[in-house]
Subunit: 448 residues, 2 copies
């Protein structure tokens, strides 16, 4: 949004306490939807005017779903409106001593502040990887990756240089968690079923899909058997899995692993780490490894009126000494509880502590293949797990319209082996310097 | 697409004559689909990898349809593949003396060349309007307009300055042809039914939608009664129609008409003219008002082996002394005939002359309202016309998947009065200088 001097953030005074929520992800949206039914003035601030359903981003990136199907307007999703104010803005800083937040167009005071800013890709300081790789945390990143994959195939038919052609076709995915596994499966499906019809000129058997994971197995957050199942499914789809290896450098064409292995690709997808998306203004003591330390009520360390929920909150428990995992169910449960707790606070009652109700974890690997783990040790894979995966995702995505459109798309894709969205609407333009020639010496850290 | 030295346009030699087609719009796509079934090597070159259904662009711009629903991959739409080569490239110049075309990655020879490059917005040399206004000929332009409309509403809640707020909310559409009429109706529907729920803070009664037309009535290509019907429908939806006026200047905030009237808006939509999208390389004698002069076989003046079809072709007939209208049915019919004629040429037969079969014209104004004119003088408006309009558009859009998704969206929008796609995926960033302060003197022609 282009801003200008005449704009300011203004919200009418209210007799009810004002809760300012930064971020409309799973936690912020759930909190907003609950809180507007109570006696609070709710101000939701987000850089975007939509809530994005991140678990399905990889399907947008692989042309299975349209981007609009997995997002929904925030103004529509919070149904009660008299006490709800949405502002599409960037928060620059929290000013706890003034009980206000500084935005691009001025300051806004709060009675309670809730930080729900989520997480972002973590490149662990490797600027080369950050510059050349494709992360997958935002809708625009998913569209960039979709354009890149398709552009590369259009380029492949324009070169007779086999080495060049393979670098254009190959894909290297770094990170063997759910995102990496699901992406690898979806790209394998594109290669095995969709692309051969589009590109009879290319020998798609020469297209390699590598999944590189630093640990000894896939899906580290799930059981060993689920990791092995996922690996077996992916290998059946002809994905090359490289375990116990780390990526050291990437110059846009050559990936070097820590054992010296070199892989050639113009498309390195980075799914190897996320970190909290902190806001300026709170002291270092409140932050641990990029997340805000919170107590069992969600209060940020050192504050009574500042809360954090979702990925950005680090709540340490006995079972999770480094903080609860960054998962949608945690965020949703925290958002819901905080709405109740703020009401209890207002009524002079004591707040209830957060208890994470583990609902299980799952990952799909592609057509008819998924792994599911339910609490209590029930684990299963294959077709039934795949049905469960689809059902749960349709259940969690917000809005009947999105459920309907996504279901229609999935049905279509399943029956026809087609991906209807393989169009390059906006050409992906590499970041500056991306296309410079491969150098003998990678640039020094900090150079850009 | 980022290009690089190692790329080249190469297509294998064939015993069959090579037809190079520039452009995958209605004409180029129809021709490709017919020609691949005959004994020709078909090379289709387009800057994009998709065919866009332009008649529904305005619904993308007004959040009624997702962009992917109205486009389809060109590689998929041409079904026979052994003799079909698609190249996503920009054609720089035609080299008739070498019987080849120059592209970004080298030259390609042809036996027959078909120019099907369509049309683009015509600003009649007014650089200020070109810089500040929103045209609507491309999918990316429709997305830019959608972002702009929504961003403006998000900005409106950030200002208390009434004049500024109205400039942000108001929309001025220039051009009273089908595009202008359909856009005005769709934006009025947004204002009347969708936006009030999203923006209870704004008084949407103060939002004005102006439709400015230089002639004395709307829909100049249709009958006077259809023009009057469309005007009555639009006025019922509270669109302000200004006839017999031309836009003289626009600085990004103030529109000045030739009678001195000033309108305030940050969103001027330009639907007032199109022109042919010519390619470099053919002599001036072959071009008339930006279109290639063709004979009844589609041959460009002065050439036997270069053809033009669709909007870019100017075929003068008794009924149309300035050339056939730039309409999808003309393009489709010309594409189809040219495929037959190329085959006849190959077989040593004489070509058949083109005869335009007028299938009628129509325009929708919004919910339950449209005007239709069939050949033979049959004219009707209202609900039945609206049903016919929808049916014909669904019939003409290519691919069962798109038909299905569009129908589902229309059904949803009609029943719920909702527009599910009101999300700002990519922020619209004004062109440089767009936001400078209003100047007393508009910049000189040529300044940018």
């Amino acid at each position: 949004m282009t801003l200008d001097d005449s704009l300011s953030i203004h919200v009418p005074k209210s007799d009810w306490p004002r809760v300012v929520i930064i971020g409309g992800g799973f936690a912020g949206l759930k909190l907003s939807r609950s809180l507007v039914r109570k006696k609070f003035q709710v101000v939701l601030i987000d850089k975007h005017n939509y809530h994005g359903f991140q678990p399905l981003l990889y399907q947008v990136a692989t042309a299975g779903l349209e981007p609009d199907s997995i997002v929904g307007p925030l103004r529509q999703h919070v149904e009660e409106r008299k006490n709800f104010y949405f502002r599409m803005l960037n928060v620059k800083q929290i000013l706890p001593e003034k009980k206000s937040v500084a935005t691009d167009v001025g300051e806004l005071e709060y009675d309670h502040l809730v930080i729900a800013t989520g997480s972002k890709s973590n490149f662990f300081g490797n600027k080369d990887i950050q510059r050349h790789s494709f992360p997958l945390k935002k809708v625009t990143e998913a569209l960039d990756l979709r354009s890149q994959l398709l552009q590369n195939f259009e380029k492949s038919v324009l070169t007779k240089d086999i080495r060049k052609r393979e670098a254009l076709m190959n894909v290297v995915i770094v990170g063997g968690g759910p995102t990496g596994v699901e992406l690898a499966g979806a790209i394998a499906e594109l290669r095995n079923h969709v692309l051969p019809q589009d590109y009879p000129e290319l020998n798609l058997k020469r297209m390699k899909i590598y999944l590189v994971e630093g640990a000894g197995r896939l899906l580290g957050a799930m059981s060993e058997s689920s990791g092995k199942n996922a690996q077996a499914y992916l290998e059946k789809f002809d994905v090359s899995i490289i375990l116990n290896k780390l990526v050291q450098t990437y110059d846009g064409e050559t990936v070097k692993l820590n054992d010296g292995t070199q892989l050639y690709t113009t498309t390195l997808i980075w799914a190897a780490g996320v970190m909290g998306n902190t806001v300026k203004g709170l002291p270092d003591e409140a932050v641990e490894r990029s997340r805000y330390l919170v107590n069992e009520y969600g209060q940020v360390k050192g504050y009574e009126d500042i809360f954090a929920v979702g990925d950005i909150a680090c709540l340490k428990t006995e079972e999770h000494p480094h903080g609860l995992p960054m998962l949608a169910p945690v965020a949703i449960q925290q958002g819901k509880l905080l709405a109740d707790n703020l009401e209890r606070l207002r009524e002079g009652k004591s707040m209830k502590p957060f208890k994470y109700l583990d609902k299980g974890t799952m990952a799909t690997v592609g057509r008819n293949k998924a792994v599911v783990e339910l609490p209590g040790g029930l684990r299963f894979g294959g077709f039934f797990a795949w049905i469960v995966w689809m059902f749960i995702h349709l259940l969690y995505i917000i809005g009947f319209r999105n459920k309907f459109i996504i279901f229609a798309n999935w049905f279509w894709n399943y029956v026809t082996y087609d991906r209807g969205n393989r169009v390059i609407i906006r050409t992906y333009k590499p970041k500056k310097n991306r296309d410079r020639k491969t150098e003998k010496n990678p640039p020094k850290d900090g150079e850009s």
